[in-house]
Symmetry: C2
Subunit: 223 residues, 2 copies
């Protein structure tokens, strides 16, 4: 994969998870557009990442900042990393821009303050809601809910597998290929309904994190 | 834990998972009552397990067969391992017998023929349904949904962690302690609502099993 030929938009890219994804993708050579409702915030995050690349000796990272809708428009492929409370309105704001594209929904439907409790939404999962909201012309893939932002924002090896769901197999494979480039092992995990599993698992990991003072993950065994 | 002082009832114990659980628990010294709607089927399964114990050199296993309700009555602790289609009627049949006890629900709400698709029930999860059906005087613990029956029915090391959910922490701990005796690592994974995660994950593992021709499991990392 010629990463420098692919522009990835990260909607909600100034959050912990978005920042970590931007860092890993940019370091792997992808063109990254950090999106945010707050354009200057996005530009600040992009600058910070470029500076990190220079001071870390990773070379000149291809990163810029933009509004969410501009990032979605310019991108070949879009990650959505927003709190669940902003999920619906964010999808609406990028609806037109992502038609015909692959959208990777990383949203976990946590309901603060009880984030350690599984509370899946009506509709089954955030992933299913995204597919409905964006329509059949968008290939929604759900992924990356179980990787701790703290690990993405470090140089650690990611000791966590990723369950990749979505109704379009080629889109899932594209996401698995991208994850492989940033050293994350992804698994085809079925149709978008199955996003519920990865989304629910995040609350389980939060429980375990509290007990063990860690950032837990999962590995698939037997493969 | 003095395993020989504890009687474990396995409701639906003639199925693949129940057979595997009975095998592991009996070999660890627990008194096991295999329960089934079909009492003679249960007795046959118990005989087969005793024979396996003798031919395998495990000594005289303490195993007997009984109807589900008799098994539930005689047991100190009860595992429920029935197909989801039989969940509700089975819980009703043991309702009186398990009052005041710990019931470990292993049921996965699969909806054949699409068992690779997450289809969680109204009510959130089988675990929640069990807690509601059995009432507040029963400590329902949900566990063991992700361990392949094929592994339980072998002498393999179980390369799969178990997410243990339930509203009563001491009951969860008791189940974790029992699992440890049969060399399975369990994790406190929160209240019974969180059973949805382990139940959904089973369909994910079925997807992966199909692709890799394996019996996949999960491990928690970072702990």
């Amino acid at each position: 994969m010629e990463t420098s030929a692919i522009t990835v938009g990260i909607i909600g890219g100034t959050g912990d998870l978005g920042t970590g994804l931007a860092r890993r993708l940019a370091r792997a050579g992808f063109r990254v557009i950090v999106g945010s409702r707050n354009e200057s915030g996005a530009q600040g995050a992009a600058e910070a990442l470029k500076n990190l690349g220079e001071t870390s000796g990773w070379g000149a990272l291809q990163v810029s900042g933009a509004s969410n809708s501009e990032a979605a428009t310019a991108a070949d492929l879009v990650f959505v990393t927003v709190p669940f409370s902003a999920h619906s309105v964010t999808l609406e704001s990028i609806h037109e821009a992502v038609q015909g594209k692959v959208v990777v929904d990383v949203t976990v439907p946590l309901v603060p303050p009880k984030v350690a409790r599984v509370q899946l939404p009506e509709g089954g999962s955030a992933g299913q809601l995204a597919q409905v909201a964006l329509g059949d012309n968008v290939r929604v893939v759900s992924a990356m809910q179980n990787v701790a932002a703290a690990h993405l924002n470090s140089d650690d090896t990611i000791d966590c597998d990723v369950l990749v769901t979505g109704n379009n197999k080629e889109a899932r494979q594209q996401v698995i290929d991208i994850l492989q480039i940033i050293d994350v092992r992804g698994f085809h995990a079925g149709m978008i309904n199955n996003a519920a599993a990865a989304e629910a698992l995040t609350s389980i990991l939060i429980n375990i994190n509290k007990q063990y003072k860690t950032h837990a993950g999962i590995r698939i065994t037997g493969v």
